[in-house]
């Protein structure tokens, strides 16, 4: 009898202990799940918070200047007149020139890495190009200011000015004394910085081309150029555009490198050799020295414009890359 109750109570105790452990596991399970869930939502909240905080910070500038903020060139801290046109113009022009330079080179490197490069060199060269993306932007800045800009000023810009002088239209574009720093220099530095990003995307999408397609084309007697131009690039067009947009997003928002070499002049010049400014360079240069609410607010409003532009560009880029991923998966 005692033996029975003993075993019974032992079993009951075991069951209770078991239940306790299971309940503990259930609690930690739920807790962990909740933790991951809320962290994931934090990413969404972060984006919302950035938008809202910039909107609130820039509200004063938008209230004071209205839509004129976007269309005025004046930037005068003394009279407290601020307009975003010159920085917006500088941002778009430097990025556009950067893309003109970087896109063909990036596609060239990507073709080289996927089609032409001898196998044992593929990885080292690929890594070297990727390291270019790892170099901090301030390094591009200091290098641009002390090495690249003087070099351009001495050897390249005088030639450009002399060469384009007799040509109508274009002589305005390449006019003026060779400052070294300016729109063109910034654009070229930007091109070097976005090059590895575009190359990486192009290389990845080129590798999604089914080998059968290329082999068939080579089998028909096509040359490398014809295979790349008629098979590889058309097949991956959406992905390439996505990569280019991704690079554009980077170029638009790049700050430190541009701040060093743009010259920080709040005006719109016809010549691309002249100094100018971009949104990010203006903020980096002036934010800590800005006195008065309206000055600070105008700079934050600039930040909001920049964030909005890059958001749209990057969203389009991701959308296109998602399309090609689906194609590769199917």
């Amino acid at each position: 009898m005692t033996f029975m109750t003993d075993a019974n109570s032992q079993a009951m105790a075991a069951a209770a202990a078991r239940r306790k452990v299971l309940e503990g596991l259930k609690t930690t399970d739920n807790f962990f799940r909740l933790l991951t869930h809320s962290s994931a939502y934090l990413v969404l909240i972060l984006l919302g918070a950035i938008f809202v905080s910039l909107l609130m910070g820039g509200a004063l500038a938008f209230q004071t200047f209205g839509l004129n903020f976007l269309t005025t060139e004046v930037w005068n801290p003394v009279t407290e007149q601020f307009g975003a046109l010159a920085p917006i113009y500088g941002t778009i022009v430097t990025s556009a020139i950067a893309m003109l330079v970087a896109v063909p080179i990036s596609i060239g490197i990507a073709v080289f890495l996927t089609e032409l490069c001898p196998m044992p060199l593929r990885r080292p060269i690929g890594i070297a190009i990727e390291l270019l993306a790892g170099v901090p932007s301030i390094i591009y800045g200091i290098w641009g200011l002390f090495f690249f800009a003087p070099m351009l000023q001495q050897y390249v810009q005088p030639e450009l000015i002399a060469f384009f002088k007799p040509i109508p239209v274009l002589n305005g574009l390449f006019a003026g004394p060779p400052y070294g720093i300016g729109i063109l220099t910034s654009a070229l530095i930007l091109a070097m910085m976005v090059l590895p990003f575009i190359t990486a995307v192009c290389r990845d999408v080129f590798e999604t081309v089914p080998p059968v397609l290329k082999e068939a084309a080579y089998g028909m007697g096509w040359t490398t150029r014809e295979v790349v131009g008629n098979v590889v690039i058309p097949y991956t067009r959406v992905g390439i555009i996505g990569g280019v947009m991704l690079g554009l997003g980077r170029a638009l928002g790049e700050t430190m490198a541009v701040t060093f070499v743009i010259g920080n002049a709040h005006r719109i010049s016809e010549s691309i050799l002249a100094p100018g400014t971009t949104i990010s360079a203006t903020i980096a240069n002036e934010f800590t020295e800005a006195v008065g609410d309206i000055y600070t607010s105008s700079l934050i409003a600039l930040g909001l414009i920049l964030f909005f532009i890059t958001f749209v560009v990057l969203a389009l880029a991701r959308f296109m890359l998602m399309r090609i991923e689906k194609k590769a998966g199917a």
Binding site: I50, L54, I109, F147, L299
Partner: protein
């Protein structure tokens, strides 16, 4: 027949031109990297001595080093990564484990990818608005927070990518043994994806330790030794920025030395990360 041959030659020629242009493009890319590194070594090595690591940033015209800037960079990067990494790993875990196929996850993934390449100066403005302005002063905390905002998207991306690669059989086997899902994730999936996740964290460290823009108006700068996280703090990139643009030659020399140090650190980190990532990534 002769006509065809001419056409064939033209096609060959055009192809050769394109191929050579591709070779030239790659040569150009490698040259840029080589020239940048050579300039850094050439200009930075001259100023590299023990004082750089033992003395504070000097006023113009006198001797000094970069000790407070190096310490500040290490401290803020450490705290930035300390705050950002757990959030990033947990969010990445949600995307890969709990909500892999849900609608919300694809939205989060999309937004995360945008944050990944959003301009870092905007992060600085954001932290200025939510931390510096309410606190009333610049501080190392704000700097670390700005860096954490940059760490999160990087870690989310790599964590998710690595967890997705873990074979489902591992999860099923451990679930069949009665392991609750949180333990399956923490004891099995994390272990299998560990190398890749560490790579992600290393890459995030490499990325933020070179960042200047988000620190400019959060941590600001500090001429002196300071470990007060509630006060402005020097960092290597911001000191480089200030010294390089100054008219003083000794400051510019220090800026180059700092640039060499930071590039060496960042590049060796990313090479280490790559090595780790390729040698033991789950297949």
């Amino acid at each position: 027949m002769a006509l065809d041959l001419a056409k064939y030659r033209r096609r060959r020629l055009r192809s050769t031109i394109t191929v050579s242009l591709c070779w030239a493009a790659s040569g150009l890319g490698l040259t840029i990297l080589a020239v940048i590194l050579a300039t850094l070594v050439f200009k930075g090595f001259a100023g590299l001595n023990l004082k750089v690591f033992t003395e504070m940033t000097p006023p113009p015209g006198s001797d000094g080093g970069l000790l407070n800037a190096i310490a500040g960079s290490l401290l803020m990067t450490f705290f930035g990564v300390l705050i950002g990494t757990p959030i990033g790993i947990l969010a990445g875990t949600y995307l890969a484990e709990y909500g892999r196929y849900s609608k919300v996850s694809s939205v989060i993934r999309f937004i995360n990818d945008i944050l990944l390449s959003a301009p870092s100066i905007v992060t600085g403005l954001f932290v200025y608005e939510v931390l510096v302005r309410p606190m009333g002063h610049f501080s190392a905390i704000a700097g670390a927070a700005a860096l954490a905002v940059l760490v999160i998207p990087t870690v989310v991306r790599t964590t998710e990518n690595m967890l997705v690669l873990v074979p489902n059989q591992l999860r099923e086997a451990s679930s069949a043994l009665g392991l609750p899902q949180s333990l399956v994730i923490r004891k099995i999936a994390y272990k299998a994806a560990r190398a890749g996740m560490i790579t992600g964290v290393l890459l995030a460290i490499a990325r933020v330790s070179g960042e200047t823009a988000p620190l400019l108006f959060t941590a600001l700068n500090n001429q002196f030794w300071s470990t007060d996280v509630n006060a402005p703090m020097a960092s290597l990139p911001v000191v480089i920025f200030q010294y390089a643009l100054s008219p003083y030659e000794d400051w510019q020399r220090l800026a180059w030395t700092g640039a060499l140090l930071i590039t060496a650190a960042v590049l060796s980190l990313s090479i280490a990360a790559r090595y780790l990532g390729t040698s033991r990534t789950p297949k």
